[in-house]
């Protein structure tokens, strides 16, 4: 874990059926994670609209995570297919506007993957620390 004194603000959208339960499991298993995360529970990662993520960046979040069920395991059959298309595209659009696409993380964490939740969050937090503060709000 790099330490450059910068503590990023990170927002995570977790789906009710997999990732939120995965986060719970990571919690009850007492896995250590960086405390930079704010979690918002949604019923499906497909419910996360692009406007929310853009607003999060506009309001000064340094990184945004969208976590859902693995492809094929979605509680709503193909909700996460749309999530994937949407946020892969949004990453490219952020790049076109000059915002590092690495500030947006899209990953799949199932309810039994507390360990993976810890890994994903730790890696993403340290990547955002490297990138530094959100360039949109920085003067």
């Amino acid at each position: 874990m790099i330490d450059n004194g910068f503590e990023p603000k990170i927002l995570a959208f977790c789906c009710n059926w997999c990732s939120y339960a995965g986060a719970d499991l990571a919690g009850v298993s007492r896995l250590q994670m960086p405390p930079n995360l704010r979690v918002i529970r949604v019923m499906c990662s497909g419910r996360v609209s692009v406007e929310w993520v853009i607003k999060a960046f506009s309001s000064g979040m340094d990184g945004v995570m969208v976590l859902g069920c693995h492809i094929g395991d979605c509680h709503y059959i193909d909700g996460n297919h749309r999530t994937k298309k949407r946020f892969v595209l949004l990453g490219k659009l952020l790049g076109a506007l000059g915002i590092e696409p690495d500030r947006l993380c899209l990953d799949w964490v199932s309810a039994s993957e507390g360990q993976k939740f810890q890994d994903v969050v730790t890696k993403f937090t340290s990547r955002v620390k490297e990138l530094g503060p959100n360039p949109i709000v920085a003067a």
Partner: protein, 266 residues
């Protein structure tokens, strides 16, 4: 070229294949859309400047859905009609399309990459302009440079909504850009990048490169360069070009089995 268009229009009207033909007319020095009926003089017909025909077709069909309409279109109009039809805004069932290929000078003026409709009735197909200087300038920058470029450009925005109002594909009745949750009323310029990035995302699967956004913009924001980059990213991911195929749905509303993301791009 224009005589051939006149010929096609009068043939269609005389044979009764169309009740009316939508084209452009020069009325007292002003070019505007005009609905030619049988017996009308075609002397005031003009082809240039281009004019976005999609919304006009939509209002004609709203008023008279049974009208057998023919419409003179350029490449961008043709693609706009296809996208509007896909989204159930118009019906192409009763519409006869008279395809007009742009000349080299016209394509250059629009910096258009696809200056021809799906089927060409008049004119010759020419190659499009691959990249404008401005586009090359901004896409050659690194992230920091691009961000500065767009920050400077969008700082000029006076939030007149011209880009949205001029766009033939901005069809939502309730626009999120007027919703206080995303864009607060009374803030000028609108906070970067929320206004333009939401619009860019919403247009990513429908932009037909007509350039109306930029020509509507009173502050000279290089929107066509932004949308050119977005179209390139979109076709890179999904191999999809808006307006090219009436039967192919937008990849954003289908599952990964129906429209996968191209390998190596995600």
């Amino acid at each position: 070229m224009i005589d051939k268009v006149r010929q096609i229009i009068s043939d269609l009207l005389d044979r009764g294949e169309a009740d009316a033909v939508l084209a452009l007319a020069n009325e007292h020095g002003n070019v505007q859309p005009y609905l030619y009926k049988k017996g009308d003089s075609l002397d005031n017909l003009v082809l240039w400047p281009k004019y976005s025909m999609g919304p006009i077709v939509q209002s004609i069909q709203n008023a008279d859905p049974a009208l057998k309409l023919a419409v003179v279109v350029r490449g961008c109009d043709d693609r706009a009609l296809v996208e509007l039809a896909k989204r159930n805004q118009i019906s192409l069932f009763n519409v006869r399309i008279i395809g007009l290929a742009c000349t080299e000078a016209e394509a250059k003026e629009c910096a258009c990459a696809h200056p021809y409709p799906r089927s060409i009735d008049v004119g010759d197909k020419i190659d499009g302009i691959v990249s404008s200087d401005e586009l090359a300038e901004v896409s050659g920058k690194d992230y920091g440079g691009r961000l500065q470029f767009w920050k400077d450009a969008f700082a000029r925005c006076i939030k007149c909504y011209g880009c949205r109002n001029g766009c033939p594909l901005c069809i939502c009745e309730d626009c999120v850009l007027e919703d206080d949750a995303w864009v607060k009323a009374g803030e000028i310029p609108p906070p970067f990048p929320i206004f333009h990035l939401i619009r860019a995302y919403h247009l990513s699967d429908k932009c037909v490169e007509c350039g109306e956004c930029q020509s509507s913009c009173p502050m000279d924001i290089p929107l066509t360069s932004l949308y050119a980059m977005i179209r390139e990213e979109f076709s890179g991911l999904f191999d999809y070009m808006p307006g090219a195929d009436e039967d192919r749905k937008s990849p954003l509303v289908t599952s990964l089995e129906e429209e996968p993301i191209r390998e190596g791009t995600a």
